[in-house]
C-alpha cells in the first residue's frame, strides 16, 4: 500500500535478476500507480529492458515477488498468462510479423479470441490514434523505422492494456517521428488512462514525458539523473575522501561508506556556473570551456569540458545575464555533498 492507501497497480519487492551468475538487476522496491507515465532512464546496459521484461512478466526474476493490483504473480501454472494479457510491450527494435499491418495489429486480438467481425473497428481506431490511417493493407516489412514503431504501439493498443511498456520507443526513429511518437504516448495516457512505462536514455525526453522518472544505473535504481556520471575509484587523503576519475579529482562527503563504488554522479541543477572563481564552501571547482548550448523550454543546458564533460542546467535569464556562448571560459562549482555515489 502506498501512503495514500491506494493499492499499486504493479509492485516489485526485493526483485533481483542474475544472468550468467552476475546480478544484472537489483530493485528492493518499486511501485507503479495506475494512469501515470513512468520513465526508466539509464545508459545502455543499465538493465532497463530486463526491468521492463520482468514487469511485463516475460522474465521470471531470480528472486523477489511481483504484485499486480495487490495479487501476487504465480509463474508456474498460475495467473501469469492471464495477467500478462492485461499488459502489452513494444520492443526497442519492434518485430513485425511477415504479413500486413492489419495482420500484425490483429495478433493480440486473436490471442484473446476476439471474433473477426469485431476486429476491424478496433484496428481502425488504433491506427487512427497512432496517425496511420489507411495503412491497414500495407505490407509490414515495407514500413519506415518510425512507422514500424507506431504499428507496434497500435498492435499493443488494440488489446486495451492496463499497462503499456515501451522499450526505447524513439531509439531507432528519425527525428521527424520522435515528436509524433511522444504525442501519441501522451494521447494514449490522456485518452485511455493507460499506465505507460517507457525506457529511454534521453533524460530530457524522460522529464518531458513522464510523471515519474526512475534513473537506473548498473541494475540499480538511483536517486540522481544520468548526467554527469563519472567512473573511477574512491581514494583517501588527509583532507578527506575524494573520487579519482583519472582526469579530475572530486571531493566527496566525509564518511562515505561505499568505498567500493566505481561511479559517481552530480545533478546538473546542483552545479553553479560562473565566469570568475568565487569564494564559497563548495570544494569542487573546475575551469572549462562551453562546448554545447541546448535551449530547453525556459532553461538552458550547457555542456562544459572541464577535464570531464559536465552537463549543467541554468535558467535562460542566467544564461543571458552571464553572456555565455559556445567557447566561453567558465568555472563549474558544486559541493561535495552534491556528489552521489552509485
Amino acid at each position: 500500500m502506498t501512503r495514500t492507501g491506494e493499492v499499486p497497480q504493479l509492485e516489485l519487492r526485493d526483485v533481483t535478476h542474475r544472468y550468467n551468475g552476475k546480478v544484472v538487476l537489483d530493485v528492493p522496491h518499486l511501485s507503479i500507480q495506475r494512469g501515470k507515465i513512468y520513465c526508466v532512464v539509464g545508459p545502455n546496459g543499465s538493465g532497463k529492458t530486463t526491468l521492463l521484461s520482468i514487469m511485463n512478466l516475460l522474465i521470471r526474476p531470480t528472486t523477489g515477488q511481483l504484485f499486480f493490483e495487490g495479487e501476487p504473480i504465480q509463474y508456474e501454472g498460475g495467473n501469469r498468462l492471464e495477467l500478462q494479457r492485461s499488459m502489452a510491450m513494444t520492443l526497442q527494435s519492434p518485430y513485425l510479423f511477415n504479413t500486413t499491418v492489419e495482420g500484425n495489429i490483429a495478433y493480440g486480438l486473436r490471442a484473446r479470441g476476439i471474433p473477426r467481425k469485431d476486429r476491424d473497428a478496433i484496428i481502425e481506431d488504433a491506427l487512427r490514434q497512432v496517425g496511420l490511417r489507411g495503412f491497414a493493407r500495407r505490407r509490414a516489412r515495407e514500413l519506415s523505422g518510425g512507422e514500424v514503431q507506431l504499428v507496434a504501439i497500435a498492435r499493443a493498443l488494440v488489446i486495451d492494456p492496463k499497462i503499456l511498456f515501451l522499450d526505447e520507443p524513439t531509439a531507432n526513429v528519425d527525428t521527424s517521428h520522435i515528436r509524433q511518437l511522444e504525442e501519441v504516448v501522451a494521447a494514449i495516457n490522456g485518452d485511455r488512462g493507460t499506465t505507460i512505462i517507457l525506457t529511454t536514455h534521453n533524460v530530457s525526453q524522460a522529464y518531458r514525458l513522464a510523471d515519474h522518472v526512475f534513473p537506473l544505473f548498473e541494475g540499480r535504481l538511483v536517486s540522481s539523473t544520468m548526467h554527469n556520471v563519472f567512473g573511477g575509484s574512491v581514494k583517501t587523503s588527509p583532507e578527506g575522501p575524494y573520487f579519482d576519475t583519472g582526469k579530475i579529482q572530486v571531493w566527496i562527503p566525509q564518511g562515505f561508506s561505499s568505498a567500493s563504488s566505481k561511479y559517481i554522479s552530480v545533478n546538473p541543477e546542483d552545479i553553479i556556473v560562473s565566469k570568475e572563481p568565487f569564494a564559497s564552501s563548495a570544494r569542487n571547482r573546475y575551469e572549462g570551456t562551453i562546448t554545447q548550448v541546448i535551449a530547453q523550454e525556459g532553461r538552458v543546458d550547457l555542456v562544459v569540458d572541464g577535464g570531464e564533460i559536465f552537463r549543467v542546467q541554468i535558467t535562460e535569464h542566467s544564461f543571458r545575464r552571464l553572456g555565455l556562448n559556445v567557447g566561453s571560459r567558465v568555472y563549474v562549482t558544486f559541493k561535495a555533498t552534491c556528489v552521489h555515489l552509485l
Binding site: 510491450m89 490471442a111 498492435r155
Partner: protein
Amino acid sequence: MITLQQTNYAFSLNFKGLIVGRTMEYLFEAFGDCMGLIFCFDREIYGIVGRSVVFALTATLLATLFAVPMGFLVGTRRFRGKSGLLTVMNTLMALPTVVIGLLAYGLFSRRAPLGFLDLLFSPAAVIIGEFILSLPIIANLTVSAVQAVDSRAILTAKSLGAGRAMVTWTVLVEARFSLLAAIIAGFGRAVSEVGSAMMLGGNIRFYTRTMTTAIALETSKGEFGFGLALGFFLLLVVFSMNILFHFLQGKGRRS
C-alpha cells in the same frame, strides 16, 4: 602438309561430333517418345504416374506431420545431446535408399518381426520407405528454418499474450517459406527414389509400379529410349509439382 598428329586430332573431333550428334539425336528421340507417352493417354502409363505422385505425396505428408514438430523442438529447445542429435539427423539425410529398402525388407518379410502385417510388396511398404527417406530431410530443413526466424518473434508473440501453442504456430508461420521449401525437398527425395520402392514394392504391374521402378525395368530390358522417355515424364511431373508449390509460396507472400 597434314601431320599424323593433326589427322588424329581431326579424327578425334569427328568422333566426338558423331557421339555428340548421336547423343542429341537419342535425347530428342526420347523427348519425342515422352511427348507420345503424355498424349497417348495410356491407362498403364498414367497409372504409373498417378501412383508415383500419390505414394510420394502421402509419404511426404506423413513425414511432414512428424518431421516439422520434431524439427521445431530440436530447433527451438536447448537440451543435452542436441549437437549429437543434429549430427545423426544430418547423417540420415544421406541414407542410401537401398539401405532403407534392406532394413524395411528385414522388418516386413514374412518371417520378420512385422511380417504379420503383410506389408511387403504393397503400396504401404513403398510409402513407408519413402516416408523414412524424406523424414530426415524435412526435419533438418525445419531445424534450419525455425532457427532462422528472428528471436524477437517469440518475445513479441509472448508479450502480446500468445500461449505456447500460438507462439509455436507463429514461429512456423514466420518460417513458412523455408518450411515449404523443406517439404518440396522431401517430396523430391520421395518421388525420385528407386531402391526401396523396388525392394519393398516389388515393381508389381498395376499395383506398386512407380515411374522410377518402371524406368529401372525398361533399362534392364535394354529399352533405354523408353526408360529415358519415362525419365523425362517424371521430370515434367516433378516440375509441375514444383510450380504448384511455388505458386502456393507466392500466394503466401502476398497474403
